[in-house]
């Protein structure tokens, strides 16, 4: 039986809460993780009735501050575009989640629910389209605020994101060649099973070079340190210099949501998405022959938990990278993108092709 509109809305709500919740929580993670990495304690002062809860109220305090602050529009700004740009930015960051599969199938009476909001057969191409449009919010906002620094930031963002867009497409070709599909749910399905009976058949074991390249390009796409030249807070302050209140908040949220997005795509393509090692549709089948049978709901829960945990691990990794490396210079970013990553990813395609030919 087909899914009703209610189930689609439920799935939509789940993935939206997942993305926005993780995005909001990342402001706390950023403060705390950077503090722990640097032998500090981190923000822990926001409290409700004296309850501090290791600083978990700081995102809440941030949200209240952003919403109650004046949203200032400069007199010379293009008012319509200036207001629209942050919304565009956050919109394109969020709609990418529609094609991310977060589980297999949930049997619900006689309804089979596909745990993916939009089962598109061109999922990966859709993701590229969305990622390519994400730069428009930034450039529009920079242009519409009619500020020279914002303009510089916007131009940097355009140059950086467009050059890495090319590399982003090319790094994925290896995976597409192996799986022969761009449907993300199908790609995850093909990562089930094992190599030699014990090693989970995740994409990273077939595309190790592709994984490293994709993660690098992905971090560049989020515009965060070490690739934060568009922001460059110590030199040009960046494309959102004229934004205050929730306009700035939306740009800020975009960065975090994009971080979640990159984690989710990395997990889907290279770490088996929702796949749990040795978990098939009817339960665990361990390599030493033991079998634990589970019902459909438990399996689905395992899958969603597995997907969430993997995403959180990559969020942690991206945060660790963000707080370890300094910012690349603008020319270094472009040189890295065009002269190193793009040729290496082309080489990756050739190597993948040779290996596929040999194995046939």
């Amino acid at each position: 039986m087909a899914e009703g509109i209610g189930i689609i809305l439920l799935k939509f709500g789940f993935i939206l809460l997942f993305a926005l919740g993780l995005g909001g929580l990342l402001t706390w993670v950023e403060r705390k993780q950077s503090a722990i990495m640097q032998d500090r304690i981190g923000a822990n002062r926001a409290s409700i009735f004296g309850l501090r809860l290791i600083g978990l109220f700081h995102p809440l305090a941030d949200a209240i501050k952003m919403f109650t602050k004046e949203s200032f529009t400069p007199a010379s700004a293009e008012k319509f575009l200036f207001t629209l740009a942050p919304a565009i930015s956050v919109f394109f960051a969020l709609i990418g989640f529609a094609v991310i599969p977060f589980g297999d199938k949930l049997i619900f009476g006689d309804t089979v629910v596909n745990l993916q909001v939009a089962p598109l057969n061109v999922g990966l191409l859709y993701l590229f389209a969305v990622a390519g449009l994400a730069v428009y919010g930034v450039v529009l906002g920079a242009w519409a605020s009619r500020n020279n620094y914002a303009m510089l930031g916007g131009m940097r963002a355009a140059a950086q994101m467009i050059s890495y867009e090319v590399a982003l497409g090319v790094t994925i070709f290896g995976s597409i060649m192996i799986y022969q599909t761009v449907d993300l749910q199908q790609i995850v399905h093909l990562q089930g099973g094992t190599f030699w009976g014990w090693l989970p058949a995740w994409g990273i074991f077939m595309q190790p070079l592709g994984f490293i390249l994709f993660l690098t390009v992905g971090i560049a796409e989020t515009k965060r340190v070490p690739f934060d030249a568009p922001e460059g807070e110590s030199e040009i302050i960046g494309y959102f210099i004229e934004y205050s209140g929730m306009g700035f908040g939306m740009y800020f949220l975009t960065d975090f949501v994009e971080t979640v997005m990159i984690s989710a795509i990395t997990v889907t393509l290279f770490f088996g998405g929702w796949q749990v090692p040795y978990l098939l549709a009817d339960g665990f089948h361990f390599p030493w022959g033991e079998v634990w049978l589970l019902n459909n709901w438990t399996v689905a829960l395992f899958q969603i938990a597995s997907f969430s945990l993997k995403v959180m691990f990559f969020l942690w990794l991206q945060m660790a990278i963000r707080w370890t490396l300094p910012r690349f210079r603008y020319d270094q970013i472009l040189r890295l993108g065009w002269k190193y990553i793009l040729p290496i990813s082309l080489l990756n395609i050739v190597l993948t092709g040779i290996v596929i030919m040999v194995l046939k």
């Binding site: 722990i36 640097q38 032998d39 500090r40 304690i41 990278i321």
Partner: protein, 196 residues
């Protein structure tokens, strides 16, 4: 031992030019710190205290870090045993002060064989003071000292930054704020104080 400045401009080796090995080594360092500190924090939540802390933070308004004894903190005027000020209004500190923040008006000290003068007014404008300590060095009577251990000097008005004679005479040295030494010059205690 001096640092050879030319070492900083050595061209990168092939290993360093590969980016990823050096990035990974940097990442290993920060992740090692993260894991170690996270371990300590987790154990603390469970009630186990380790010898090494998970952070070097001193939570300032509640806790105060120990001060080095030679640190120049808020001034005070020392008193004699009978409670009268040691200051003889010789104007040495006022003369030595490079910021010109001390203002003294002398008056005659009555019924005393040796001491002829005492300050009638002794104002220090902390808004001007640069805490150089020249006044302490200039004082022949050891009357002005900077050992109160008070660092939090703030006010809403400039007039509130002016300390007069009565305030300066009331201040006492606070030895608990400072690192304690024994006769041999070894550190006895550097404990972090719980605020008041």
């Amino acid at each position: 031992m001096s640092i050879n400045v030319h070492d900083k401009y050595k061209p990168l080796t092939f290993w360093e030019q590969l980016y990823f090995p050096t990035i990974l080594s940097g990442l290993a360092l920060t992740v090692r710190h993260f894991v170690r500190n996270m371990f300590a924090h987790t154990l603390r939540v469970l009630g186990i205290k380790l010898k090494w802390p998970g952070s070097v933070t001193i939570q300032y308004p509640e806790y105060l870090r120990p001060l080095f004894p030679r640190l120049r903190t808020l001034h005070r005027l020392a008193k004699r045993e009978d409670g009268s000020p040691r200051c003889v209004a010789c104007m040495m500190c006022e003369t030595a002060c490079p910021a010109r923040c001390i203002y003294i008006v002398a008056e005659e000290r009555l019924r005393h064989p040796q001491i002829e003068k005492v300050p009638q007014i002794f104002d220090i404008d902390l808004g001007l003071c640069i805490f150089c300590g020249f006044c302490v060095e200039a004082c022949p009577e050891d009357a002005i000292r900077m050992d109160t251990g008070i660092l939090e000097i703030a006010n809403y008005a400039r007039t509130g930054m002016i300390m007069n004679k009565d305030i300066l005479l009331k201040l006492e040295p606070d030895e608990t704020r400072f690192v304690q030494y024994n006769q041999e010059g070894e550190v006895v205690s550097t404990s972090i104080l719980k605020q008041r």
